[in-house]
Symmetry: C2
Subunit: 496 residues, 2 copies
């Protein structure tokens, strides 16, 4: 390896290390940091953001990057690393270091204020913090792209994606969701979730979640499972940390959270060991990341085959609680469609309507067409329009998600993109592994992991997400596979 390449490798890997350190600080803050530590932590986040900015924009490393770029063509991995680092560098050069650092500090503070405000259902207490966040994030967006600040933010989560490309996709998702929802509601079938809403002791739920994650393939030597107010997964490679939450009166909360987060975690644990610190070895995009979580949560986790596997284990873990339940009953309960207030507990069909609402609102916030003070009203109005529901309080409404408090504008579309990718990936997997259902029913999840590993995990960030989708499935991203899947599944459950 020549000196330039060596220096480029060191530079890009050290940037990756620093990103991982920031993840750890975020995880620690969400999971176990003492509450009074928030102010000093936010200073640490600010300092690290400044360090990262300086490191990425270092003029000497920038010159090395260009020299390496000029002759990286023969080495596709190196070329991919160059592409990712150049993108990061170009982006960083447009945003003043102080702005980036201040954003990190304010978002660190705002998350704790969001937690408190959510607990109290008190949007007004949170408003000034969210105003700061929106102001700073908007400034970042404008610095990156004065014409399309939202696109610039979106690109941080889904490289290459734009609002203009999302609009027709999301419009089709909305139309087809409404069509299918009407058929479900018109079916007259009675399906409910009562089987999940029995008394399930939290300690037993926790033990079951750990066992389930291990069954799906999560390596506890290289990861953790903890509790937090808002389930999430952080870290990568040999240190991947999931969090879930438990509701003693609703087993579904922890169960689907475990499936969802394990999907994220398997992706991170599955990255190519030879490129684990390289920029192009990392996960492709947040849309692809959410495709992994939603694939395990929905395509696998709500299938009849999964419940054939899972129910006997549940009966063992909760003796006497499920004696009257058979596979069909619990599989149907896992697929109840009912417009509801909380995104993370929404059914597979109406889930996307939650995302579409958030997308509209955040585009308006970043576009300067919606003031933070008017956000709760806009939210409540949107919930009536999209889901036909009245929001009783902000805790069940605009305060339910952590993302905006953390400055993650442009993230929400990843969920619906993830749903679309997941269905398209799983359709392809089903063609190549025709007996996948039988295998799921036997708990043989290895075939899914291996399929994903070769095609997605180890591909890392070599390609843009849209390209990856085409490479894996042979077709550009489409709304069809998701709705074909939903129609098939819901017509079984609701018998229409």
């Amino acid at each position: 390896m020549d000196d330039d390449t060596r220096r480029f490798r060191q530079w890009s890997r050290e940037v990756q290390d620093l990103i991982r350190v920031v993840w750890l600080l975020d995880w620690d803050q969400a999971v176990l940091m003492p509450p009074a530590g928030v102010r000093q932590r936010s200073e640490q986040l600010k300092t690290l953001a400044g360090v990262l900015h300086r490191r990425i924009t270092d003029p000497g490393d920038g010159e090395v990057l260009e020299r390496v770029a000029a002759r990286a063509d023969g080495d596709p991995d190196l070329a991919a690393d160059v592409r990712v680092m150049r993108h990061r560098r170009d982006r960083a050069l447009k945003v003043p270091a102080d702005l980036e650092a201040e954003r990190a500090r304010v978002c660190g503070l705002a998350q704790r204020e969001w937690e408190r405000a959510r607990e109290a259902g008190d949007f007004e207490a949170f408003r000034p913090y969210l105003e700061d966040v929106v102001r700073l994030v908007r400034e970042v967006g404008l610095a990156l792209d004065p014409e399309h600040p939202y696109d610039a933010l979106l690109d941080d989560h889904e490289p290459g994606m734009t609002e203009a490309a999302l609009r027709p996709l999301f419009s089709e998702v909305e139309d087809r969701t409404r069509g299918l929802l009407a058929r479900v509601q018109g079916s007259g079938a009675v399906v409910n979730r009562a089987v999940f809403e029995r008394d399930y002791p939290v300690a037993d739920q926790e033990a079951f979640a750990r066992r389930l994650a291990a069954d799906l393939g999560f390596d506890f030597e290289a990861g953790r499972l903890d509790r937090s107010a808002h389930p999430f997964t952080a870290g990568s490679f040999r240190d991947v940390r999931m969090t879930i939450r438990h509701d003693p009166g609703n087993l579904a909360t922890a169960l689907f959270a475990t499936l969802h987060e394990t999907g994220h975690a398997l992706y991170e644990q599955g990255i190519d060991p030879d490129r684990e610190r390289d920029p192009s070895g990392q996960s492709c995009s947040m849309g692809i990341h959410e495709s992994q979580s939603r694939l395990w949560e929905n395509l696998v986790g709500r299938s009849r085959a999964f419940w054939a596997f899972c129910l006997p284990r549940l009966k063992e873990a909760f003796p006497g609680r499920l004696d009257d339940v058979d596979t069909d009953a619990i599989a149907r309960a896992a697929n109840v469609v009912r417009p509801s207030l909380i995104r993370v507990e929404a059914d597979e069909l109406t889930y996307n309507l939650h995302i579409l609402l958030r997308f509209d609102l955040e585009v308006a916030l970043i576009g300067g067409r919606l003031a933070v003070a008017d956000l709760p009203d806009a939210w409540n109005e949107g919930m009536r329009r999209m889901l036909g529901l009245d929001v009783p309080d902000d805790r069940m409404g605009v305060l339910q998600d952590v993302h905006w408090s953390a400055g993650m504008f442009g993230y929400f579309p990843s969920y619906t993109l993830g749903n679309l990718y997941a269905a398209q990936f799983f359709g392809r997997l089903r063609e190549e592994v025709p007996d996948v259902d039988a295998r799921i029913a036997r708990g043989e999840f290895g075939c899914i992991r291996e399929w994903l590993s070769v095609r997605i995990y180890r591909e890392g960030r070599r390609h843009l997400p849209a390209e990856l989708c085409e490479r894996v499935t042979g077709r550009p991203l489409s709304v069809d596979p998701l709705f074909d899947h939903l129609e098939r599944r819901l017509s079984e459950v609701y018998r229409f």
Copy 2:
């Protein structure tokens, strides 16, 4: 504030932030990181060490430092900050960045290997890692001071201290320890620890430890108490994290660890809020830090007054376990003197012999006069000479402490210095708070905290430790207060 001072403040505070981030990574690794994460964590530590080195040696910030130094005389706090930062900078300029970074990486790896080797009692498995650590730490020491590499390492923990200054002090400690030990052993009194060695369920021990820490003044809103293989305290100000360990058959393990770590933690939680990110606002030295831990563990925690307070609470926490025990009996049990193998469980008198042995060995290792391969024999020989004990295996011997694996050479003297400072401080406190025993017996620990707060916690790093000692007690550090205290206490316990 002028521009230079503002820039100096930002520079020095960001350095402090980065040091705190490294602490968090260390804490996380010791307490809860997944085992397989060690390699990537060690890369992160290496990267952060490089970042810190670059930040401290930044030429522009160095010029600002000198300009601020030239006119800081009117502002004692600023002058103190300048002194600390100039010391850090001078030190960093002498050590190549790559060496500092590689040391951080190797020490990160070695700690996990030490944990494994200790578990297995297998020094040979750990030897190559320790060899790397010693080689790199020695290189650092030689880069800092080619004549006296050990002094340079010592200075990192106890600014201003030298091996030459320690020798006579430690020699006197050894002589007086031997003299007092002979009197204890010749007293014929029978005292034992049986009262601590009953069956104390770990969960109840844990609850008691939390209550005790809170009684002593630990603020759980600004800190945590967890378990780890080796008790320690990390973090500062509003995020202070203690760890302890539990032995179901020995209550003393957790109890004295709680007293010890709470001493550290109160110091960190007590730093001046107005200077919490400033270099001179931080703790003075590791010797002063250990004075705080040993003060609560020994001067307070082994006093009869403390047991008058603690015993009723223990009886409440462990119903039926201590019905036959009175204050005199448990206070005597807390002061049993008996040469033993494990430092952290040693009695107050023979404890320093453990330190003196480690001091001799590490001076020889860094001086190149002792090879790592010969360390176990030298250890075992030393234990016979110092304490008259045969070491049954390396787990109970050379593998018992984490310090060397973490590259902390020059740290061990802090414990004996801490014991000396603690006795001298407490002697002074007793003069100024004559009814301190009565207050301890009533659980009124606030008077001790307030005394320490004004004189030590909030003084931070304004003075070198030797100066601080003189300011607080009116005298230079002396061996007398410790042995006066020990003689008083042990003559009561052993009735000589």
